[in-house]
């Protein structure tokens, strides 16, 4: 059926030619260390990279286009597929953007549950990052340990919302469910154990000669570069700029909990590794403060705004008017006010922003997803130049990029 040559579109005919010590190598898009569908065209001078051209789009699903054709509630599960390592942070970013658009205040218990889930997601994301990054660099043991601990966190999330990967555990206006019985005790056991596990990882890696040689002084991002390329999250803090949106522009109850923003001034991969470990400890600290806060809250978990948000499930099943409202909101969708918002949140990867332009219709007129990894991947063009080919994998792994949110 197929003609042999037809499978080679012209743009993939890259010269694997060698002139002197100059060579072009194609890395990806199906390379296991590309952390998704990243294709890199590397020009090598000997063993050093002289030019790097990242090529993305292999996972492009057109989420922004989809958003323009969906009512707001319909789009929420789609956001799961952005940063699928920490799906709740995307759900939350979108829900918060819509709430800001319509000016909605969320009940306190919903805020606590959201923060619990967000911090748990941060921990799973960082554990996943550590596991895969260490595996890329050659530390196999860490991969198994970190995945074990991540599994316990995923169990907790599964207990709450029934899903492990695509959580959809946040609703516009609150959360769909209260915490199940005994959930906080399980969480307590987990967060009491995790610091020792983190110590174990550090025991394996911190002074590990190979780990240090592969990471120290590799993947330098100067503060000027980080700002100019729009870095955020650990990539920005790894360059000595103390900027955490949870701290600087607090949302939910982040102004009521105590936590530190770790900063690394070494600007290299090893500094960012230490930063991720410290961030996990800070997340544990936040979780420990949140658990007693939960008990003090009133039982409402979803905002009362019949124009925009459906009533809680029990009410829909018992009250005729709530059911009618729910029917209208599901079939037609809510109509937010005319205007635009840009709402940033601190996802595990960095600044996750949702720009929504609403014209008063049930469908957003324009929705722009600002994904942190997108800008971090763009930085690879500058970051990889002058590095050794062997370090490319370490740098990509360290940048913590996820293709769901780069290609969207």
């Amino acid at each position: 059926m197929q003609k042999v040559n037809r499978l080679k579109p012209f743009f993939e005919n890259i010269a694997f030619e060698r002139e002197d010590n100059h060579m072009i190598v194609n890395f990806g898009p199906q390379h296991p260390s590309a952390h998704g569908q990243l294709r890199l065209i590397l020009e090598l001078d000997g063993e050093k990279v002289s030019k790097a051209t990242p090529d993305i789009g292999y996972l492009h699903r057109g989420m922004e286009k989809m958003a323009e054709n969906m009512i707001y509630n319909e789009f929420l599960p789609t956001t799961d597929r952005m940063d699928y390592i920490a799906a709740t942070s995307n759900n939350y970013g979108f829900a918060l953007a819509v709430e800001t658009l319509i000016g909605l205040e969320v009940p306190r218990r919903a805020k606590v549950i959201r923060m619990l889930l967000l911090e748990l997601n941060r921990i799973t994301s960082h554990l996943f990052w550590l596991a895969t990054h260490a595996l890329d660099v050659g530390a196999m043991t860490i991969f198994l340990y970190a995945f074990r601990e991540r599994e316990y966190a995923l169990d907790l999330i599964e207990d709450y919302c029934g899903a492990r990967l695509t959580h959809s555990s946040v609703r516009i206006g609150g959360v769909p469910l209260d915490l199940p019985k005994g959930w906080l005790e399980k969480l307590n056991a987990y967060v009491n154990r995790l610091p020792y596990d983190i110590e174990d990882y550090e025991g394996l890696l911190d002074q590990n000669r190979i780990w240090k040689m592969r990471l120290e002084g590799v993947g330098i991002v100067t503060p000027e570069q980080a700002q100019s390329w729009g870095c955020s999250g650990p990539m920005l803090r790894g360059s000595g700029i103390a900027w955490d949106i949870r701290k600087e522009e607090p949302y939910e109850l982040y102004d009521e909990v105590e936590f530190d923003v770790p900063v690394s001034t070494t600007c290299d991969s090893y500094g960012r590794y230490k930063l991720h470990m410290e961030e996990m400890r800070q997340s544990i600290r936040i979780l420990k403060q949140l658990m007693p806060m939960y008990d003090e809250t009133a039982p409402e978990i979803i905002a009362h705004a019949p124009q925009y948000v459906s009533a809680p499930k029990e009410q829909i099943m018992t009250q005729n008017y709530s059911l009618m409202q729910h029917f209208v909101l599901v079939t037609q969708g809510m109509r937010p006010p005319v205007g635009e918002v840009y709402v940033p949140t601190e996802s595990p990867k960095g600044e996750l922003g949702f720009y929504i332009n609403s014209q008063g219709d049930p469908y957003p007129y324009r929705l722009k997803l600002r994904a942190p990894s997108f800008f971090h991947t763009a930085l690879l063009q500058e970051m990889l130049v002058g590095e050794y080919l062997a370090d490319v994998v370490a740098i990509i792994g360290n940048a913590n990029i996820v293709f769901g949110e780069i290609d969207r």
């Binding site: 037809r6 499978l7 789009g57 286009k65 037609q332 109509r335 006010p337 219709d361």
Partner: protein, 265 residues
């Protein structure tokens, strides 16, 4: 007669609208209310023509002339400490006013303030690249070109970013259908097999929820079942409930032989 559909905007529309419904507006506050923003605006006003400025949901929005974009962003970076360009993209208003609305979302980490610079360009107008000011504009501008066809001059590598290089059309335009246009249906067939295979393979079905009534390999029509792969038929099929080999005591029910009783016997 076929119902009229708007070719300028093929996005999904609400099937019902209350004609008396007037959508409320998000309030626009005066810039004077915020000392930091007022100062920034004064700096900009001394150098450039500012068409409109207000604060919405805590962020300053400034409308400028599109030709000032590079110089104005440079001023904001150097004099007002807006050190990060978080996002930059466009909104399609071609159907309404033949224009694109562009926005630059800026962040100042030292002042903890966010500012949005906005401007309008006409459809074929060329925009100056701000790559020289903020490097994060590199991919943002490429994506904008890819999605809207807005051409940027002064960009180091103006090439499609997410879509394939030889893609036809710009997906985020309001005139572009959600499931892709005619070129999109044939793109992979042409690419992999060649144009001569169009008749054999047929177009790519891009609506994942579509049911083909004539396809008896993948779909069954209830009440009109035919053997796997056979020609679809309009004739009704009639099924009696029948266990394999029959069930003890229970007599098999045949609808044609059954009768409906008026009273309990």
């Amino acid at each position: 007669m076929r119902p009229y559909s708007d070719k300028q905007n093929v996005q999904k529309k609400p099937y019902y609208s209350d004609r008396y419904f007037v959508a409320p507006q998000i309030p626009k506050e005066a810039v004077e209310g915020d000392a930091v923003f007022a100062q920034d605006l004064a700096v900009l006003q001394s150098k450039f023509e500012i068409k409109e400025a207000y604060i919405q949901r805590g962020q300053l929005v400034v409308y400028i002339d599109a030709r000032d974009n590079v110089a104005l962003l440079q001023t904001l970076k150097d004099e007002c400490a807006y050190n990060i360009l978080s996002e930059h993209s466009a909104i399609d208003w071609l159907a309404k006013s033949n224009e694109f609305e562009l926005f630059y979302q800026l962040l100042s980490t030292s002042k903890r303030k966010r500012l949005r610079v906005k401007c309008f360009i006409h459809e074929k107008e060329v925009l100056q690249s701000v790559y020289g000011v903020y490097k994060s504009a590199d991919w943002a501008e490429r994506e904008m070109y890819d999605m809207f066809g807005i051409v940027i001059s002064g960009h180091p590598y103006m090439k499609r970013l997410l879509m394939p290089d030889d893609w036809f059309g710009y997906p985020l335009l309001k005139t572009y259908p959600l499931h892709g246009d005619e070129a999109a249906r044939w793109y992979e067939i042409d690419k992999i097999f060649g144009k001569e295979y169009r008749d054999i393979i047929g177009p790519e079905e891009r609506d994942s929820a579509r049911v083909d009534e004539n396809d008896t390999y993948r779909f069954a029509r209830l009440g009109h079942e035919v053997p796997f792969g056979a020609e679809p038929s309009r004739e009704k099929t009639f099924h009696d409930y029948q266990e394999e080999g029959g069930v003890t005591i229970v007599k098999s029910l045949k609808k044609s032989e059954s009768k409906i009783v008026k009273e309990r016997p």
